[in-house]
Amino acid sequence: MFEIKNLFVNYGGIEAVRDISFSVEEGKIVTLIGANGAGKSTTLRTIAGLVKAKSGTIEFMGEKITGKDPASIVGKGITLVPEGRKIFPDLTVLENLKIGAYLRSDDISKDLEWVYSLFPRLKERSWQYGGTLSGGEQQMLAVGRALMSRPKMIMMDEPSLGLAPLIVRDIFSIIKEINKEGVTILLVEQNANMALQVADMAYVMETGRITLSGKGSELIDNEDIKKAYLGK
């Protein structure tokens, strides 16, 4: 469904992503794990169209989407929940959700209901400004906002970052639930343990390269991974 081939991305002189290739199967949860600075965010931002690739191709549903602008990528059905949530603090919760559906002109009330059923707290706070929510609520809002575009594939950049363990568990169970509804998920995490537990397929990134890949359940028992990322 989704495939990256030989992707290179530079920032000025810095090679942030060097020749990575991977694919995401429809309906699966795929995770990209790795230390800080490995190039995970850069990869997602390139897919989303925020950063231009130096070379390589990105294909989605049989169509080349390399170099397209962010609005067309969203239009094709790929959304990014950015690192640090990036909700709009002076828009209300409801407006934040509505703006997620910016490109749609059909009725969004069903999707709004769905998001509210996934995150009942957002419904209670729909008239509050986004900036007044707690970190966990903001992450829920960021995910809900992305769902409002009705994506085929949703990319999440470190959704567990800075959240309390209990909230992290909530977020991961929501990720599984969204996936059950048929949305393909590309998940970037430093929290390798949680990510590997939910992932069908996992890729490990180190300094711009993919150094290891395998089923989530396999990598979780891999000795190198245990040492490097699971702190065991």
Partner: protein, 303 residues
């Protein structure tokens, strides 16, 4: 009451000029809000609207000229943004500012070329130019119309920003370009719309302002532009209500100073000379006391 009655004409023209500054100031504050750019060319766009009126009304009836001037000014704002600012979207802010200064001089020089440097007589617009007497004070209809029209336009603009899709996009883009793009918003479209709204309001302001001032020169936009800018800073740049309130305060204070001789019983008319100096002294005081202005956001820069 007697005092108010005697000086009514100063209050009236203060409120009227304040409304005109407000309409110009909105353009400064909205563009600043979205691009963090002080659009130095805005006052000159206002002047160009005045000149367009002069030239077009000499051959066309007002029913055509007025909408045409509004339309052409909107187009001018759009073109300036596309040509002079959009290519510099990722350049340092200083470069964009220099580009804005360049556009300002370009417009003034173009106006100089077309007018030959002569003051062009502004046409008498029927109804707006008519005289009326209010409580013994003689004034033009435009003086009375301006504050009402300003309030109506500000309400419409507020509704647009609060309750429409494009308004929501404007609020989002003024916060965060990148996340707005992730929502599928085409930021260049939103920025163009902002410039077009600012130019439309400046064009309306020019109709009202020049009707009271009788002539247009290539530098006619400089002073009202500068005062509207001061109003925007006073109100807290980026804030629309701030700009509107700031503009009314400056317009009224300026005219009270102009009328100072009679209001405070000081002989001679020397005070009028100082009304502009007052405006800028005012700005300095405000920036010292409250750098963010009346309604300014705290020093949070773009996140």
């Amino acid at each position: 009451m007697e005092f108010f009655h005697q000086n009514l004409s100063y209050f009236l023209s203060g409120i009227s000029v304040g409304g005109q500054y407000a309409l110009i100031a909105i353009g400064y504050t909205m563009v600043y809000g979205i691009l963090r750019l002080i659009n130095f060319a805005h006052g000159d766009v206002f002047m160009c609207a005045g000149l367009m009126m002069v030239y077009l009304s000499s051959t066309l009836p007002f029913t055509i000229t007025i909408p045409l001037v509004l339309l052409l000014t909107v187009l001018l704002g759009f073109v300036i943004e596309r040509v002079a600012y959009m290519p510099l979207r990722s350049a340092p802010r200083m470069s964009v500012m220099i580009s804005a200064i360049g556009v300002s001089y370009l417009l003034q020089n173009a106006a100089l070329y077309f007018t030959g440097g002569l003051a062009k007589v502004y046409p008498e617009i029927p109804f707006l130019s008519n005289s009326i007497v209010i409580w013994d004070a003689t004034t033009r209809v435009v003086t009375i119309v301006t504050p009402f029209l300003t309030v109506v336009l500000v309400i419409l603009l507020t509704l647009l920003i609060k309750h429409t899709k494009i308004g929501m996009a404007m609020r989002a883009v003024s916060r965060d370009f990148e996340t707005s793009q992730l929502m599928g918003i085409k930021i260049n479209r939103v920025i163009s719309t902002t410039f077009m709204i600012g130019s439309l309001l400046a064009s309306v302001a020019s109709l009202l302002y020049f009707t009271n001032y009788a002539s247009v020169t290539p530098t006619s936009g400089a002073m009202p532009g500068l005062k509207a800018f001061v109003a925007a800073v006073f109100g807290g740049i980026g804030s629309i209500p701030g700009a509107v309130i700031g503009a009314f305060i400056i317009g009224i204070c300026e005219n009270i100073i102009k009328g100072g001789a009679s209001i405070f019983g000081i002989p001679g008319s020397g005070w009028t000379t100082f009304s502009d100096a007052f405006t800028f002294a005012f700005l300095i005081v405000i920036l010292v006391v409250k750098p963010t202005g009346l309604f300014g956001e705290k020093a949070v820069d773009k996140v």
